[in-house]
Amino acid sequence: MGQSLAGGGSASSLTPNQPTLQFGRAPSSLRARPRIGDPLFKWATGFFAVLIAALAVLIMVEMAINSKLPFAKFGFGFLSRSVWDPVKEQFGALPFIYGTAVSSVIALIISVPVSLGVAIFLVEKAPRKLSNPILFIVQLLAAIPSVVYGLWGIFVLAPMLRNHVYPALQSTFGFLPLFQGNQNGLGLLTAGLILSIMVLPIITAVTTDVLRAVPGTQREASLALGSTRWEATLIVLQNAKSGISGAIILGLGRAIGETMAVTMVIGNRSQISASLFDPSYSIASVIANEFTEATSEIYLQSLIELGLILFFVTFIINMLARLLVWSVTRGEGRGGHA
């Protein structure tokens, strides 16, 4: 403990009239002093806690202020307009909302079953000695930076899909509009696939937490009634339903806000096309690509308004997810070992 600390308010609220003892040294003073230390400490730390919380609000307010122009010009029609023409200063969010939504949904369709499988394996099948290292390895997937996924997507995943997977998909399901058109490897489906790997760790981790929070007595009761392990697991899943939904929604929030990897593989063209092979654009990636190049004020502000939409969507999604996860893990998981 530093020298400076010894001088401060050394009187205790518990024993105001008793001599004050200090750690590791003789009391420097036995007199009670005005107790300003504690309130000061509370206010000082409180200031920083409020500062962090205020930043969340400030980000929203700042973006709202800086998107007045397009809001005045297009109103809520901004959401449903599909034109994006910086030259004629006509802007609409629909193609980006479409690209964001479809790539995220593709990501969930692929990663949800796999993540649930991993989580079930970790909690219900594997012993702790095996499940903890596997969980750690899966967590490392989340530690890999987004831009690295993008690089890998451009140079490894996209060529692989273009040369092998997409032609096969087209020859099998080519009658569907989803799988028509030419495939250069960069487009909605590729973005969705990259995202599916990126959200896998978060869905897995939260689902693992949720499943571990389900009391073991439920499994024992089910097994005692003669069910197989899998049937007992189904009971557990049934009871963890809302928490698992929370995990999935949390993954969705991640996918929607993901920027770099998506920007690098989605193809960056503002269009709404039925084909999943076609290039598209997401909200985050159009901001990443065009923000520093925006030539006019309304162009820039339209990008910021897109950011505001993204903020609200992720806000609602994360709030919902937290409520759902909390409803299952409350009192169990986190606080259990305190």
Binding site: G8, S13, G37, T45, A49, A56, M63, V114, V147, T259
Partner: protein, 280 residues
């Protein structure tokens, strides 16, 4: 109800299927890492680490400026984000068990969930735009903002793990609350807080999006925080999108450097906290 045989068959099928899912997740990490090592080692050399970028075609190009830039940006971000995060976390754990604390936690978690690109937009509107130029300082602020909620929440959790009896012992000795918190509670939780801070560093070290409109990038060595500054992540993004084979190799090599750093941090944290994990 299906026969016992079929139920047992389904049971073992699901065991195999879920095991395959786990195998797939583990394999995809090694698959990606394998490509990074394979692709990165080709371009990696001592010169690559100590030289700055040279024009296309010239030999001995390197990413020293990006490594230095990343270190400066991360240091700036930590200097801004960590004190705020730790002090905020102390407040949440010591004084935050009321409605106001819940509101703060809710907003702080909102900030954690905010896409990082929007933090970049925010810092652009409040700093870069009024100042009139891109700067490493604004990049550091953006990274700092990203760190704050993460550090605050891990600090809070770690402090909560400190047994109540330790607080009571400190208070019983007549120490004021703030001294008990700083000298006993925070000190006991120090290793946990430190590992949380390390994870936060690992997290922001990989960020690109908040730097796009703040620190931007720079093609030469610079340590001036009032100028744009290179970073490993921005450099990877920039090189990957360029049409030159040579730059692609450099992007892979830079990725190898970055991923090695980040994984080392993560694994170090894991090793440091292994005892806690085993108890839990």
């Amino acid at each position: 109800m299906p026969s016992v045989g079929r139920r047992k068959l389904l049971d073992s099928t699901m065991t195999v299927l879920t095991g395959l899912c786990a195998l797939f997740a583990v394999a995809s990490l090694f698959f990606i890492l394998g490509y990074i090592f394979w692709g990165g080692l080709r371009g990696l050399s001592l010169g690559f680490l100590v030289n700055s970028p040279k024009p296309i075609g010239e030999p001995n190009s390197g990413i020293a400026n990006a490594i230095v830039g990343s270190v400066i940006l991360i240091a700036l971000g930590s200097a801004i984000g960590m004190p705020v995060g730790i002090l905020g976390g102390i407040y949440l754990s010591e004084f935050g068990s009321n409605k106001f604390g819940l509101l703060l936690r809710f907003l702080i978690d909102t900030l954690t969930g905010t896409p990082s690109i929007l933090v970049g937009v925010f810092v652009w509107t409040v700093m870069v735009h009024p100042m009139g130029y891109f700067s490493a300082l604004s990049g550091g602020v953006a990274l700092g903002i990203m760190m704050m909620p993460i550090v605050a929440r891990t600090t809070e959790e770690m402090i909560r793990l400190v047994p109540q009896s330790l607080r009571e012992a400190g208070l019983a000795l007549g120490a004021p609350r703030w001294r008990v918190t700083l000298g006993v509670v925070l000190r006991t939780a120090a290793s946990g807080v430190a590992t949380g801070a390390m994870l936060a560093i690992a997290r922001i070290a990989g960020e690109t999006a908040p730097l796009l409109f703040t620190a931007l990038g720079l093609n030469y060595m610079s340590t001036n925080v009032f100028q744009p500054m290179a970073s490993l992540t921005y450099q990877i993004y920039y090189y990957a999108q360029a049409p030159y084979e040579e730059w692609h190799d450099m992007a892979w090599a830079a990725t190898l450097v970055l991923v090695t750093m980040i994984l080392a941090l993560n694994i170090a944290v894991r090793l440091l906290t292994r005892n806690r994990h085993q108890q839990a």
